[in-house]
């Protein structure tokens, strides 16, 4: 096997999208358990990725990177599925891929989706993801974004939730040039539940954009958005969270928080909460903060002998951990804790440190540096 995951004890089923081509052999490496069906698909043509893309760039063949995961009703998939989307071409590559997830009634699935690049050129990745959660189903979806500093990622996720379904959608932004994530979550029946969270750790000229549209179309829905960011150097973040509550969506509970720490004067955050509420019996709140590190907390830590640098790391880590602690897979949580600690300590988390290693790459390591 070419890839192996570095997360200890994750013990996941591995799916690999290698340079935009869905590696069908990767399915055969594990026999998907009963009730899990993974099939390559040919999606309808999707819009080209945003931005100026010159025509002489290489694109991965559009029909090879697409698949569908369907979980039969009443199936608890014990082991997580891990999708590794990896690019290691010498030339810049554009990848467009689409995948669809259907979690059947009463079923549950954990999916870890890692976007990675091992090259150091300007790739663009466009992921179009559509998710359907049938009644009483659960999906834990974790997206780890760790692409090189020249690459752009556009992730367009659309979720449809039926009654009593539960979505956890986490996005961890560790590296990349421009990282756009749009999520549209539709509650299309009552008692749907969504936890949409994100953590972005940015430096240099990195840019991260989160656009969330949460549609409470039916009553008794609950949603909780928590997005936190730490920005160093000239990094930029943009957060737009739109909560829509339809007239009949009574007893809706919708919370939204976006909190940011700016480490320099040049770092920049724009946060736009937007609440559009037509029902009257609802609990909705939003909050946004952009600030420096808490000076009195820093002082307190330092009076105990903790150096300024270490004190800052402790505080940033605590800030970030507010999101990470909600990761329900222990092995993934520990892994994230570890790489976030290292990232906050100023270490550059390159792909080979991150989620997995690539054997061929290990041999040719020098050529990539």
């Amino acid at each position: 096997m070419k890839f192996h995951c570095k997360i200890k004890n994750l013990n996941a089923y591995l799916l690999v999208l290698h340079n935009g081509i869905f590696d069908q052999k990767s399915i055969r490496h594990f026999a998907p358990p009963k009730g899990v069906e993974i099939t390559p698909t040919i999606p309808p043509p999707c819009p080209p990725p945003a931005g100026d893309i010159s025509t002489d760039r290489i694109s991965a063949p559009a029909e090879t990177g697409n698949f569908r995961i369907e979980i039969a009703p009443n199936t608890i998939v014990e082991k997580p599925l891990q999708l590794i989307n990896i690019i290691d071409t010498a030339e810049p590559l554009d990848v467009i891929h689409t995948f669809e997830i259907v979690v059947g009634q009463g079923s549950s699935l954990s999916l870890i989706h890692c976007d990675e690049s091992l090259n150091q050129v300007e790739n663009t990745i466009q992921s179009n993801i559509s998710i359907q959660l049938k009644s009483h189903s659960t999906l834990h979806y974790y997206n780890l974004q760790n692409i090189n500093n020249h690459s752009t990622l556009n992730n367009e996720t659309v979720v449809k939730q039926h009654e009593h379904s539960h979505l956890t959608s986490h996005t961890y932004t560790l590296n990349g040039k421009i990282l756009n994530k749009h999520q549209t979550i539709d509650f299309s029946e009552e008692f749907a539940n969504a936890d949409v969270q994100g953590l972005y750790l940015l430096d240099k000229n990195q840019e991260c954009l989160h656009r969330i549209r949460l549609n409470h179309n039916f009553s008794n829905g609950r949603s909780n958005q928590l997005f936190k960011g730490i920005l160093d150097d000239s990094a930029k973040a943009f957060f737009e969270g739109h909560i829509f509550v339809a007239k009949d969506a009574q007893k809706t509970e919708a919370i939204q928080n976006n909190k940011n720490i700016l480490l320099t004067d040049k770092a920049n955050v724009q946060t736009h909460p937007f609440l559009e509420i037509y029902a009257d019996d609802v609990k909705c709140s939003h909050g946004a903060t952009i600030g420096q590190m808490d000076e009195s907390a820093l002082f307190y830590l330092r009076t105990r002998g903790i150096s300024e640098k270490q004190a800052k790391t402790l505080l940033m880590y605590a800030f970030a951990n507010d999101v990470v602690r909600n990761v329900h897979l222990e092995s993934l949580r520990e892994y994230l804790e570890n790489i976030i600690k290292r990232r906050l300590n100023g270490e550059n988390i390159t792909c080979e440190d991150c989620v997995f290693s690539y054997e061929k790459h290990a041999i040719n390591k020098k050529t990539y540096k």
């Binding site: 907390a297 002082f299 307190y300 330092r302 009076t303 002998g305 903790i306 300024e308 605590a318 507010d322």
Partner: protein
């Protein structure tokens, strides 16, 4: 141990310490009393090194060294501990992690290796007993959601962990019930050694029934205006502050 001479300090335009003198020797317990807003907490903060206070005149020598040559964290490692009047809540940082970092950073400063984890855990357990803190608290975030009394006990616990030469305890007695007051005071007494010193800042003579001071100072308008023995505290209790103004 600590020699303060003619200390002036201000915040922004406002001068708060106005020519303060104080001498603290090893083995001594000092109490500082004085009306609200006279600068007691400011004095503690200036000694701890809080940057927002600017020292404009005077000197502070600690164990023969110029205190102003050291950063906040270096002062701590040199052996100064400040118990906060208002301990800061730090969500997401557990007391255990906080103390482990502090202990090891101080050890590093003194050229020692990090403390082995088992040794550290044993020390945590032992020191929690000093102020009758429960184990459960150690796993929680620093001061977050602690009651007023728990916060103050937590300060003394940290002092026990760090074994400072000089502890300045700013109103460690305020907000404590009778039992907690006894526990905190006993904690301070247990930590007393011939080679360390304690300065307690307090409004209440009551505390001094438990922690017997060698000296009582009255601070007023940014300086020490009167020094005596513990009977001075009793006199204050009776007469209030009017007579010193």
């Amino acid at each position: 141990m600590l020699t303060i001479k003619n200390l002036y300090a201000s915040i922004g335009e406002k001068e708060i310490l106005k020519g303060l003198d104080l001498q603290v020797n090893a083995g001594e317990v000092h109490a500082i009393m004085g009306p609200n807003g006279t600068g007691k907490s400011t004095l503690a903060s200036v000694i701890a090194g809080r940057e927002k206070y600017v020292v404009t005149q005077g000197s502070v020598t600690f164990c023969g060294k110029n205190l102003f040559d050291f950063s906040i964290e270096e002062r701590a490692s040199e052996g100064i501990f400040m118990g906060f009047q208002y301990p800061v809540e730090i969500p997401g940082v557990s007391i255990a992690n906080f103390m482990r970092t502090a202990v090891n950073e101080q050890r590093k400063y003194r050229g020692l290796d990090p403390m082995p984890i088992f040794e550290f855990q044993a020390m945590m357990e032992e020191k929690q007993k000093v102020v009758e803190l429960t184990d459960k608290l150690a796993g929680r975030s620093v001061n977050e959601g602690f009651s007023g009394g728990e916060k103050k006990k937590n300060e003394i616990f940290q002092m026990a962990m760090l074994e400072p030469k000089l502890a300045i305890l700013d109103e460690t007695d305020s907000g404590l019930d009778i039992d907690a007051l006894r526990i905190v005071a006993n904690g301070v007494n247990k930590l007393k050694r011939p080679d360390n010193a304690t300065v307690v800042i307090t409004h209440y003579q009551r505390l001094l029934d438990y922690i017997i001071p060698d000296f009582v100072h009255i601070m007023y308008d940014g300086k020490i205006v009167k020094t005596g023995d513990k009977s001075l505290a009793l006199e204050l209790e009776e007469k209030g502050y009017d007579w010193i103004k």
